[in-house]
């Protein structure tokens, strides 16, 4: 056998990338158990055990953060998970004509809008005075609402704008799964005199169940890591009671207040919970339905 030294040489730079930017930070996470000292660096700083974890648990904001993170995630999951499935099932019912392709193209498009632009649009549309939603409300005789300043509205704004942006994209996977269903099953359903709805219920849904399971596992695995990028941009001092989540708290504690050890501890706790969730859901799914991601 020839040696494949050239292949090994190719792999070295990407491997270095993963070591430096992914594995060194994992090692750096010991900072959570140390008192960070700028002069001594991470490894020279003294150990303080669980001090920062305790500090976090004792802080009254702890429960607020957990609550906000979980409520936002579950809202997102409950509303955002079924809609792409329904969209795909509906698109699958209307043949392969122009209308279907047009709907698919249009609903997929917002996926390419950046988070900054998405939040900019939300702010322009919901602006207290000039936003078209308030202009319309006033036109019909209602009082204008400062949507982004209402803590009670934050979660809905976040979740529904996300659905607007990603439902079409998420539906693509289900459409592909639907296209892969054995056509003889439809023939059989037709012979049995099944209505369209019965066909969806007894053929389409069971056919895409493996895909649904896998996407669900992936979504549940992300429950603790709701998107920082969008929440951070939507945040303001008025909606903070509902919009402060673990990720935004880590950012403001760590990078804005330079509380490195504390922020690392909070972040680490979050990653560990996330990993446990993912492993648990995956093994549950494996046992129940034989579908899992590993």
């Amino acid at each position: 056998m020839r040696s494949h030294w050239q292949l090994y040489l190719l792999v070295i730079p990407p491997l270095l990338f993963f070591i430096i930017f992914k594995y060194v930070p994992m090692a750096n996470a010991v900072l959570a158990f140390k008192e960070y000292n700028v002069v001594k660096g991470i490894w020279g700083s003294p150990w303080v055990g669980l001090k920062y974890f305790r500090m976090f648990f004792d802080n009254p904001i702890f429960w607020t953060l957990i609550r906000n993170t979980l409520l936002l995630s579950f809202y997102q999951l409950l509303a955002g998970f079924p809609i792409p499935i329904v969209l795909a099932l509906m698109l699958n019912e209307i043949g392969n004509g122009r209308f279907k392709r047009f709907v698919q193209m249009v609903t997929f498009a917002p996926y390419f809008i950046s988070t900054v632009v998405m939040v900019s649009m939300i702010m322009l549309f919901m602006a207290p005075r000039l936003g078209f939603i308030n202009v319309a409300l006033q036109y019909f005789g209602f009082e204008p609402v400062n949507f982004l300043g209402e803590p009670g509205m934050f979660r809905s704004i976040y979740v529904w704008s996300d659905i607007w942006q990603t439902a079409g994209y998420a539906a693509v996977i289900y459409l592909a799964a639907l296209a892969g269903i054995d056509p003889t099953l439809y023939e059989a359903a037709k012979v049995d005199g099944a209505s369209r709805f019965q066909k969806i219920w007894h053929v389409d849904l069971p056919g895409i169940l493996p895909t649904i399971t896998i996407i669900l596992i992936l979504n549940v695995g992300n429950i603790m890591s709701v998107g920082f990028e969008k929440i951070y941009l939507l945040q303001n001092s008025l909606n903070l009671p509902t919009s402060e989540v673990i990720a935004t708290y880590v950012y403001s504690m760590g990078l804005l207040n330079a509380n490195y050890s504390f922020a690392t501890a909070v972040g680490l706790l979050n990653s560990v919970i996330n990993l446990i969730l993912l492993v648990t859901v995956n093994s549950l799914a494996k046992r129940i339905s034989n579908n899992s991601i590993w």
Partner: protein, 302 residues
Amino acid sequence: MAKSMAAPKSKIRESVGDRIFVFAIYVILSLVLVVVLYPLIYIVSSSISSPAAVVSGKVWLWPVDLSFKGFQTILKTPLIMTGYGNSLFYMSVGTLISVIMTVMLAYPLSRKTFFGRNGILMIVMFTMLFGGGLIPTYLVVRELGMIDSRWALLIPNAIWVWQVIIARSFFQTTIPSELVEASEIDGCSDWRFLASVVIPLSKPILAVLVLMYAVGQWNAYFDALIYLKSDNLYPLQLVLRSIIIQNNSAGAMDISVQVQRAQLAELLKYALIVVATLPVLIIYPFVQRYFVQGMLVGSVKG
């Protein structure tokens, strides 16, 4: 609506219930279309209306008093133009680095004779499940002296694991191992094989990689937010954030356009959104299939 009703999928006459069912689907999907399209049309219409019309809420669907003042202001604002240039730079150089690095990793991992490929794959995949977190990563980037430099946007997120996975499974399925063996008998080196056989055969997957990295880089703002300090390095997204979300239009505008500044500032926001999004949305219909392909290649393996 009537036309669609006249062309059911099967030749067999559909029951009344099924017809109503299909009709309902058409109605719902039409509503979905309106909900998705309206905000987009509204933004574009506003961006080419007169400043006064935008501020007084006269724009509903189509442009009112056609005017291009918003775009003229963008051209006259150095901060925005620098941001645009920076974003083009980050997008092109970043995509180049990312695609090269991804292929360098994915190709060897696709070769069955590559000893240790499962180990390396594990190392790479594990980073999808667990990470050190924001601060530990920030400290590494700081240690490397990349804070407030262009490198910070090009290197620390250069490789996406997902892209490695789809590139690897593409190479595995499209490059037959007989071809590799034949080239080895001919004395062709691994590098030459990659450059003159694999790459030319892999144009579809390269398109997927380029597009996904390019759009990702164009739309990103988070790394710039945490790593950059000087505004002459800011990508467009960060300039957008400061003008639209933080409402800092005052600093962004030339003194010569201070007349009617409040109205213009409002108009500028719409024009900026169009300018930042249009390049992506215009090429999107032509490249949609590559994105779909990318998603599906990756999901085959689950």
